[in-house]
Amino acid sequence: MSERVPATRSVTASPATARRRRRSFVSTYLTPKRGIPRRTIAILGVVGFVVIIAVWTVVAILTYNKDVPAEVQLVPRPDVVVVAWIDMVAHLGFLADVGWSTFRIVAGFALAALIAVPLGLLMGSFEIVRAFFQPPINAIRYMPASAFIPLLILLQGLGETEKLTVIWIGVFFQLVLMVMDIAHRVPTEMLNVAYTLGASRWTVFRKVFLPATFPEVVDALRITMGWAWTYLIVAELVAAQAGIGNFILIAQRYFRADRIIAAIITIGVLGLITDFLFATYHRWAFPYVEKVHG
């Protein structure tokens, strides 16, 4: 119904012409919440990248300083960055830095999730646990993880423990509250049905409550994983022997904007890969979840 043009016109149009009638640009693309053709979505997705690279190239050309080599330009051209990335991987051991950063992320994140998920589930299901943990966690959540870095360096030195702790602080306090909310939202009816089918409290917890939370918990992990990268890079920028953040810091000392940009893009790609892995796992593990976005 809503897809028709105003009634006055549709009355005069014969069925044959109505079928051929094309919608105007405005009604096709600018109706709130109406889907647009798949092809257009794909094209726009590519165009987004093309525009960014084009603007970047124009800025690079406009700010070009012919007195210095191409790689130390303040705004290096995209192709220079690509060359820099290949050089970093081939001659500067950049992949080792990537490896170090990945290790820290995975380890710090895993340690945070290992405690945050069970605790969040308990907080969401038992009021007694929530009443005890929620107030302090709520308060600490607003203290930026990066502000702890100087303190952690004093307490733990410059080693790996300090890096992992920064990530842990950044992830744990957010994740635990997200998981708590997920647990809290499990519909009571779901649990009640199980009781009337003869389930004990423990069975209800294990066979209904836990499975009811899993898909959303994986979603929460996926979101907080993205934040973990931010905290890691900050920690590495402050003090580290290796890692992408450390690499960026050294590049800055040599005015190598090309290397900095290449490193930042690398982080972005790593983030995309992690996201993809989580999304793939989600689809594989929870095929029964109703998709919100078509």
Partner: protein, 253 residues
């Protein structure tokens, strides 16, 4: 089954006592907010009454248990289990052997017209199919009493009709004791042997009506004069009680 409840802090129910004989289909209707659902929750053992108790076969039943199966209006199925696993859920808890579970679930899947959907997840099911599966799950457990809290309340009118016919056929077959809460008066008349009409909050039982329509019930009976007379009677009482509810709300304001 018999139960009695007393005063509650937010007095949802007051001095209710009703006894449902074995094999009877009892419907509870009343104005919204009269505590019909609370009554059912108490019967299921899911809500603890401040006073009173629930007896099944003369024995007190304060905790929920497999003897009183419940069907809710929504969130009825476990989305992570196939239709078959949903139906077998109670049997799995009782550790019934697999072959026996299969046999029971297959039987119910066929009976509930869910053939071909045994291995489907609930997301693939329509609202009516979901409720059929939920009823099958409750029946699979072979409970003494079936408690139903507006099980068809979220369905469209046509589907609801079909579900009512299916349920009355099922009752004819299994003769379970059923306690059925609804706000749909015609539904109560079509399904029930007896209708308890509740008052405005705090809910009490105002009238008990026998439905003397012959069994098995058929769709044609809805048009009969006897049906119309019962309906008018119940509509009149509920209308009166709903007006009281509005007045007491105004008085409090």
């Amino acid at each position: 089954m018999r139960f009695t409840t007393g005063r509650r802090q937010v007095q949802a129910l007051e001095r209710i006592s009703l006894t449902v004989p074995d094999g009877q289909f009892a419907c509870i209707v009343g104005p919204s907010g009269c505590g019909k659902s609370t009554l059912l929750m108490v019967a299921a053992g899911l809500t603890e009454p401040s006073e009173g108790d629930v007896l099944v076969d003369g024995k007190p039943a304060s905790e929920p248990g497999a003897d009183r199966g419940m069907v809710f209006q929504s969130y009825s199925l476990y989305p992570w289990l196939s239709v078959r696993r949903n139906i077998e859920f109670g049997l799995e808890i009782k550790q019934i052997p697999r072959t026996q579970r299969r046999q029971r679930s297959s039987e119910l899947i066929h009976l509930m017209k869910l053939d071909g959907f045994a291995e489907a997840y609930p997301k693939a099911l329509s609202g009516g199919m979901k409720q059929r599966a939920a009823i099958a799950r409750a029946l699979a457990n072979d409970p003494q009493v079936l408690l139903m809290d507006e099980p068809f309340g979220a369905l469209d009118a046509q589907t609801r009709q079909i579900m009512q016919e299916l349920l009355t056929d099922l009752w004819q077959r299994y003769r379970k004791t059923v306690l059925f809460v609804t706000h749909d008066i015609e539904e109560a008349i079509f399904l029930g042997d007896v209708i308890y009409v509740m008052t405005n909050r705090p809910g009490r039982i105002r009238t008990t009506l026998r439905v003397d329509l012959p069994r098995p019930r058929t769709f044609e009976m809805v048009g009969s004069p006897q049906f119309a007379e019962l309906r008018n009677q119940v509509v009149g009482i509920i209308h009166e009680e709903s007006l009281k509810a509005v007045e007491s709300e105004l008085a409090r304001a």
